[in-house]
Symmetry: C2
């Protein structure tokens, strides 16, 4: 099947075409890494994957009447707070409304946490037979920067497949997850009671990224203390949007309506304030820049590998310094 | 103090000069991020920081007789396995040999785990008064890629200060930590017994990066099971170097000699096999490439911000696709 046909199938909502297009994106991340390897074959593979992906993205980005209209909701939080269960709850809540839902589970911290993610994938299999739910996971064996440019492309595929809502779940709460969460219109940070110093440590970070705060596992001890602590934190925020705090027991579906209401309220705020457009512009800007840098990186690896090797030798021999060497490499771009 | 003087002071092993130079590196990471922000001030700050850093690195990289001679040992492992205690044990072991020791604690997962790292810093204060031990931590508020280019620069500063051994401790075990660990000559992965599925999940990742495996907290139950599991894993490795497994109780200093012996054996292997030179060349190559990309990124942000904005608007309006837009941005480089 050629790329144009594949895109056509994805637009009709055919799951296999959607899956293949997202694989194309994922492979490109992996090849972008391989392209910096020493093998000639790696470099060739990179070039091939890029061509198909370019075509697909050109089709998807320009052949659409209403781009950037799917609602993108990021979910993040420490391991064990119940991210996948919460994602599952939100899938059901949006399905009850009749929305077509896409889920992108992004794992930036492989290789070491691959096992945990696999468990999550299995848990989401509840929805595997629902033709209105598209679940895909992406992991990066390579550079974290790769996911920053791959995620918007995967979002574009899911949007083309008619998803009204796309949930982006990231495993973990590090910088990478935050970056990916920021690709969303609304970022939900999930916590659980009894995390001890966790909340304290996470203060600054949470306030930076959370549009909605969820205290999950609200049937456990300490939920009120966690809510109180969060309320004190958000009370200090001097922004037009103060993140609401929602308590849920995702495993029982409790709090789903409250969470949906909080998400809708934020969506309304985004539209009224013009922030929706600003966030989407920033997402587009980041994507373009990330692709440009990946292309340049690939040029260094493919076209200028010998020069880079020679410069590294000179740096090892104290014959140049890293900045001068970098200038020399940039000059090679012509 | 001008940059040349600062470098001179660092070469004499003056801790404050070393600290200031590493701060220069760390600030550059932060500014590299700011440079992509919308504020004119951010962009100016970025340019200024780069100039001083360039000068410092030029001095450090070329004005040295024996660059890349310090032994760089990376330590990584999940939270709670005792990384900082192990680092402390290694500091003492190398000090007993009369080595000057540098420690770089790198936290790629801020903002959310900042609190944990602070605790580690405090624990290493035991060595704060030893003039032959330099301890610095670096965190990244911004792009993870930032640490990939900042770490080799910080290593260069510590080497100039006469450190024979530099320990690079990374918090966590994700992809970012692995990338940073790979900047080392020898990478030590630390585990603790009773991590349950952890070892299983981490299999692939550990075997990819570990040169030496440490099972710390070896006075706890389950140490033999963990060692056995690791031995089965490493038994499958078909590489010239099979990672040895060392058991330690770092809090009591037990196993320090075994660990040192394993590190020395790996060092000898590196030198004999030519792998030492290959790793250092790869480190130099990565650093040059990372700086070149950061420079290009900064050019996009500083010189071509308007073009990037316009391209993002067009992408939002379905008038272009991300790859074509990226090509357009690259063309702006001239």
């Amino acid at each position: 099947m050629d790329v144009r046909e594949l895109v056509g199938q994805a637009r009709l909502g055919r799951p296999r075409a959607v899956a293949r297009l997202i694989s194309l994106v994922e492979n490109a991340v992996e090849n972008a890494v391989d392209a910096t390897g020493p093998e000639e074959g790696d470099r060739a593979a990179s070039a091939v994957a890029s061509r198909a992906l370019r075509e697909a993205m050109a089709e998807l980005a320009t052949g659409t009447a209403r781009p950037y209209t799917a609602r993108v909701i990021g979910l993040t939080g420490s391991p064990g707070v119940g991210k996948s269960t919460s994602t599952g709850m939100l899938i059901r809540a949006f399905r009850r409304r009749g929305s077509r839902v896409g889920v992108l589970a992004v794992d930036p911290s492989s290789p070491f946490t691959g096992g945990a993610l696999l468990g999550d994938r299995v848990r989401m299999q509840d929805h595997a037979t629902d033709p209105e739910v598209f679940i895909r996971s992406m992991s990066s064996r390579g550079h974290l920067g790769g996911l920053a440019w791959a995620t918007p492309q995967a979002l574009r595929v899911l949007e083309a497949a008619g998803c009204d809502v796309i949930l982006v779940e990231t495993v973990g709460v590090g910088q990478a997850e935050v970056e990916i969460a920021r690709l969303a219109d609304t970022t939900v940070v999930i916590l659980a009671p009894g995390m001890g110093d966790g909340v304290q440590a996470a203060k600054a970070g949470i306030l930076e990224v959370a549009d909605v705060l969820v205290v999950n596992k609200a049937d456990r001890d300490g939920v009120q203390a966690t809510v109180r602590e969060l309320r004190n934190m958000t009370g200090l925020v001097e922004t037009p949007w103060r993140p609401p705090i929602v308590t849920t027991v995702a495993s029982k579906g409790e709090g789903a309506d409250d969470l949906l209401a909080a998400l809708d309220k934020h969506q309304a705020y985004l539209e009224e304030s013009g922030e929706a457009r600003r966030r989407r512009l920033a997402r587009a800007r980041d994507e373009i820049e990330a692709i440009a840098l990946a292309q340049l990186r690939s040029r260094f690896a493919v076209l200028h590998a010998d020069r880079l090797d020679a410069l590294a030798e000179r740096l090892l021999g104290a014959e140049t310094d890293p900045y001068a060497a970098a200038d020399d490499l940039i000059a090679a771009l012509g």
